[in-house]
Amino acid sequence: MERQDIVDTVKKFILEQFLPGEDPDELTTDTPLMTTGILDSLATLKLVTFLEQEFDITVEAHEADAANLNTLDLIADLVDGKL
């Protein structure tokens, strides 16, 4: 899977689940997600569950933090590294 496909898939999920009605262009690959409350702790858990199911990967508990999930770029890096 191409990196851009990962970004598009995750972006679509975040827009649908947590930002209904948002202009998709506003969500860029470096928009902060956790530090601005777009992803709160429950939303982060939902995102991790989605990543695991969608890409058939395992996200370790210690990886589910802002260092790995705060932007689409970071999320794509994390997923890409596990495929």
Partner: protein, 523 residues
Amino acid sequence: MTLQHYLDESVERFPERTAVREADGASVTYGELGALSDRLRDRLASMGVSPGDRVGIYLRKSIDAVAAIFGVLKTGAAYVPVDPSAPPSRNGYIFANCSVKVAITEKRFEEGLRKHLAAEGAGDTPLLVIGEAGGGAGLHAALDAVAAAPRVATIHTDADALAYILYTSGSTGKPKGVMLTQRNATSFVDWCSETFAPVPEDVFSSHAPFHFDLSILDIYTPLKHGATLALVPEDVGKDPQKLARLIRDARITVWYSTPSILSLLVQYGKLEDFDLSHIRTILFAGEVFPIVHLKALHARLPHPRYFNLYGPTETNVCTFYELPSTIPVERADPFPIGVVCSHLEAVVVDEEGNEVGKGERGELCIRGASVTPGYWNLPEQAAKAYLTTGVGKSAAASSERWYKTGDVVTEEPGGVYVYAGRKDRMVKKRGYRVELGEIESCLYRHPNVREAAVVAIPDDELGLKVRAHVATRDGARISVIALKGFCAQHLPVYMIPDVFSFHPELPKTSTEKTDYQTLLKME
């Protein structure tokens, strides 16, 4: 007796026992914690800190931060802990607001803090900067970097001296500082000793951040008894599986947190994979525990004793309720907030301040040793929040202050209080006090916001959701990403609204006030 006495006595009795342990395994003994806080006391004294002063603490939760707290207390000053994850503008405001004599911080926060202290007119506040907090090494290194300060004696202030100031959300748009005296704290900690009977073999969790009043039980109860304080880092604290592993690995025996984290733990923590039989007591406070999650937790961990603790920062815990050892499956109501603590008195009053009958609704008022003296530099707000005249039939004892909790309760048989709701616009989100008015003040700073009204709505998963209704100047909706990013510059992340709704204009009552009742029902 002072808070610093508790540590001194444990240093004397248990010098080799572990006082504080971090999640990565770093730890200090009582002897080491005593010595490190003594060194900081000497350093602060040499910087001019003396009894009656305030000292800011802007550090990650760590052994260094615990030593900093005791170092400050030993000078006779009061400590002012702030949220290291909050915007530096908020922390700069807080330190300037209570004119701290010195602020202790980490290298990574220094630049932001200096900038915002200067913006508040307090740019000359001396900073004690440590490289990075962790394991006590950062504080040691910072103290080693300069010549040793002359040794001074620990000062045991009198019971009415301030011990710390905790800033909470303020309705006027700025945080307000709740002042707490030594007596306020020690009377509460002594009640904890009596009620939970700590022993040196106990390991207490420290889940709450130090600027949050749950930390008072966490820090001082174990340290008074020679037990161990297990620090839970902020990132682990929000992650249920990491948290379950930490509880197991640290062999925590007494857990204390808000219900929301326990709800996440039971739903997502995979508790069936962990042996947590060492937990003997689970305490929760700060908000209503949704009964469905509490029942699930109790079913998963049936052996500990469970206590619902209740109390605003202004009184700390003032009522408590021990859950029965079995919870009927059909139970649908939350548990009561319980009976008044032994060091306090309670009364329930109507709008005029007259005591209401048992079973009738009224506002809970609290009097006694842990009732705080007021807010830093806000005498008018304190005058509204506290009653100094007699309340109900206790008018004879009117020389003492009553704190009006703003919480509506009923008194049931056995002196058990049941929580019924709030009088005002403050809500609890994940245990944090959130003044909806403070969020509105932030939104009004946005150039395109014409009207803003914030409401809290019940939510099955989160317990409570904060929704912001906004009318913009140009009539177009603002990007939620942009608005959340804007809020993140001014508010801690837990205060950022969960949901935004945009309207051409907000509904008004017949007197042209924002119609919150209608807004509560609007999407």
